[in-house]
Symmetry: none
Subunit: 242 residues, 4 copies
DNA sequence: TATGAATGAGCTTTCATTCAT
DNA sequence: CATGAATGAAAGCTCATTCAT
């Protein structure tokens, strides 16, 4: 009734984002007489909005993002965005939460607790690197949120429950490594994760300015390979006791 | 006539703009012996504007920054900003350049080439960490500029000349360290610098979101001390050959 | 097919709208013995809507009222309001008519024709005062309608039939009073009623501004008692011949 | 610099609104070479805005008023309204204050303290009646403000100082009348003024609905004359002791 | 009878920028 | 060197109303 500030009920958290149900265009082939993708599909509309909003916020930041453009990209009426998300800021939070859910979800599927410690660290570094490469929007979203001093995230409830198992996983790897006489003692999992993320984040997130000031294309294939290798050396060089 | 319409492209900031073609008031007859035109008010105003703009851009990003607020903070008329800097974007570039000049300038004063290699690396890490701590605006400015894909910086000429000696300095340290049998071989100075910066940058620049998701105050005194120590261990653990 | 498109002109409120031509669901085959279609929910819904609308229009005026809020307060779907009343403006008229019916109805129950003239006038004044006190929404509704130059009321048919007996009653009282040598001659019942109403209406309807500009709480108990007494003195002082 | 919420410095309070200086159109005849009505006249713009806003608020209420229309009527850019008045609500307050200043100013010029008591009361009644007749917008503005529970007026500082001398004047008349053995004792000036105002206010402010429900044109010349006479009889009939 | 989804038009407000002196 | 007045374009958001079931 009242313009619902409802929680967007779409995706089950942590579950991989349901592959977008094939669009009209996608199965234009032999269409059964079926009731067909109703334009009045709340979940679908919300999904489109989130998708479009993610792109827009990533490209322009919170301040620079335009609700008009989001509506256009999502193929919905602008009003609908407010109907479902209440305000631009609330939409931004929804986008953030979805982004975190996505990365933490994929990380969980790395099964770090089930592989040998050194390999686990390698995997984590490589995954982080590749995820940032494949999802540059994630970096920009975080930047925006930090510019706003985590104002939105602080209102989120689901964000905490998302991270404590993740930290637990890393702690487990470190402990196993230490017990096996491989890793140095007393490494804080949060500290280590921040380092791994930072090594990738700064390089990729600031590649434009860095490439400019150092007059060198940091995103060239060779440079990328070297960077991953450098990061791995750095972290393992620190972690592994010989 | 308003002060000669600028090209809207960047003009050397800080250098006084070419004196506007004499105004009506200025050319009424023969000019008197000149009462020593209020000395250097121009420079003062420009300084205030840059100061205020830095704060504003850092606090709100390029898109969120308000020319009105900059004028207010600087204590000058809004029109003056346009008089000196041409446009909001040009002002942003001026701010960026000043920020880079500042950090690179201080770095130069570390005299890294004159101290023993390991100590030089320690100093560089500590300096980077402390500079970012003391100048959080620097991080935000870089984020903004990267959001805009270094659009402004790419137009800058002075930026390149600022960085090549800096890279040279690090290369020199690494080489001396290697020759002394201390450091591993084949370390790329740019790669290493990016790692050092990244370790500090991500932690500090994203402290709001990180503190939120990990439910832990990353800026507490103890946490800060630990971080610097962790960073140093990490880098030297990698660099130093035993 | 949506429920037959209404003319958008007023329809008798409270009377159930002509049952919409049977819907798809309704005509699937032979209708079963009819499970006694939820008895009079329609009336209940309409009542709730009118109630809610009265409060909303009174609180915010016609322009400031929100159909959303009315639906929420009434606990019905917004669409239902349109189903029953056609438009916001038609709903407003329905509210107005109900309000007039209410006050005129209560007045009628005063039995002014059956009491002694002076007492009748006293009763009318006291009733008017108390009714306005108990029904502040009535005042606001009238204000709104006058702002709109009685645009809605002019379309109403039932409004005239409501008032002519009322005027008749007052005329009767005045005549009896005059015949009894109590009241002055030639008093216009409409004129007198407007005066009585005006004395109460202005005081109560404008109590907020009046209390503010005269720095005095006009709604305090004592003030209210004094006002009623003052009004009575005023009217009888004028009416009664000694 | 910052969008000034400055006090609108235009009219000297209580002085009659300076007759709008003839517009360009008005004297298109023989125009002297003069410096001409500069379009950049802050006071003039503010005056136009207030004028236009008064009309718009009176016609549509606060909620129904459109800033767009005000700008159009005032012949200024919409943005200028915000530049000078900050917000629609602040503009509304400015309009209200001006309206009160106007009526209280004219009342003061009645010199009620200098005429014989009965004549003073007659004058006050006639003035009130005629002012409301000539300024129907005043009634509507008050209605609007009461709908909003005097929210704006309560923020006003100048409103109190405007009314205390006015009450003083009426008190003086009543006292003189009583001392002269003309008026009854113990009449509260505020109470009396509210009655006088109410008698006129309700009749004129609600003339649309009243004319409709009583099927009679209350604004016809004859009706108006009768009303003023009725009001005077009513008040003096109460006040005067014989 | 009833409802959730959706929208076009328009609202107040903001902003970078320019005009005139 | 400096400024108050002014603006066009667009932003976020709201609203009465309609669609589809």
């Amino acid at each position: 009734m009242a313009p619902a500030r409802k929680t967007h009920k779409s995706q089950p958290p942590l579950a991989p984002p349901a592959p977008p149900t094939p669009t009209k265009r996608a199965r234009k082939g032999a269409r059964p007489p079926a009731p067909e993708p109703r334009p009045r599909d709340a979940d679908r509309s919300q999904g489109h909005i989130l998708e479009a909003a993610t792109a827009e916020f990533a490209a322009h930041g919170l301040g620079g993002a335009r609700v008009d453009r989001i509506a256009e990209r999502a193929g919905v009426n602008k009003r609908l965005i407010y109907y479902y998300f209440g305000s631009k800021e609330d939409l931004f939070l929804a986008v953030l939460e979805r982004a975190y859910e996505s990365i933490r979800g994929e990380e969980q599927r790395l099964n770090l607790t089930e592989v040998e410690p050194i390999e686990a660290i390698r995997r984590l570094i490589a995954f982080t690197w590749n995820y940032y490469l494949a999802h540059p929007e994630f970096l920009t979203l975080l930047n925006s949120e930090n510019l706003h001093r985590a104002r939105h995230l602080k209102r989120s409830t689901k964000i905490l429950t998302l991270h404590s198992p993740f930290v637990q996983t890393i702690a487990d790897v470190l402990q196993r490594g230490h017990k096996a006489g491989l890793f140095r003692a007393g490494v804080d999992p949060v500290q280590l994760y921040i380092s791994i993320a930072g090594l990738a984040y700064f390089y990729l997130g600031n590649s434009h300015t860095l490439s400019t000031i150092f007059a060198r294309d940091l995103l060239a294939t060779k440079a990328r390979v070297e960077r991953l290798s450098h990061m791995t050396d750095l972290v393992l060089g620190y972690l592994v006791r010989d």
